[in-house]
Symmetry: D2
């Protein structure tokens, strides 16, 4: 979990840098298509972080909840989060 947390933080810092880079691109009136390409990259990077958090959650909290007989509310919550994420 610790290794996973450091990896998630590293990725979020990189995404923060990309979003700052995007602001510069807009301020410098860079070509729309280049801005879109960078936006697509940042969005894909956020999706990747989401998959990593889903993974950690499924192996951690969700597994623990099922093992302790609390599977119903844990699975409801997991699927709700998933549905929000897929929109």
């Amino acid at each position: 979990m610790k290794a996973n947390r450091d990896e998630v933080l590293r990725r979020l810092r990189r995404i923060e840098g990309q979003v700052r880079g995007l602001q510069r691109m807009v301020e410098e009136d860079r070509y729309c298509i280049d801005i879109l390409t960078q936006l697509a990259a940042s969005r894909a990077a956020l999706t990747q972080v989401g998959m990593q958090v889903l993974d950690a959650h499924a192996r951690g909290c969700l597994t623990a909840a099922v093992q302790s007989g609390q599977s119903e509310p844990a699975i409801d919550e997991f699927l709700d989060a998933l549905e929000r994420f897929m929109k």
Copy 2:
């Protein structure tokens, strides 16, 4: 275009703040589901910015290219950007 640029910049700054907030959430070991919900919000916000840039591009560069008889390469480029963005 100027109004649109200011709006895009405002949104990107808000997304940058959300991504920094996400880093804090991870550092403070906040609940995965709350992190996922915030990730989904930032991702949706980036999608919205993308739609706004697509809009500006379609009304600006793309329209100008079609009017000056350069529609083919401009549409190729637009659809490629769209495809990358939809992944």
Copy 3:
């Protein structure tokens, strides 16, 4: 599970009808935007069916696997399926 199966089948039959309707629209040279709108509806309907199958799987096979101490391979498989589905 039986009720869920019937609901999934009902939705898939409706999607099959939509896809046949799309073929007619294309054959009759209907307006692209109307075709796109119907394509978007069919795609959203398939996503909904996917969420329902994910739900049934999480409550059924995945919960059973975790309870019987087989959580690792079951969660790997679940997240792989999810990743393919989100593309």
Copy 4:
């Protein structure tokens, strides 16, 4: 446009077959993960058809509208269709 239409029809027929195959898989109680994998493939195939229709529309109707000075309503309509499709 004719070649594109035939290709779109061919793809839609294949998707119809996949959706019928999905119904059989559900009736035969096939493993959820296999059903999800097939659902993801059909959904990706519909997305591909959507991109092809967007392409035909951009090169055909949209270009014609811009050339005849009707770019505003045509681009509004195009971006609305795109937004519905990306959901």
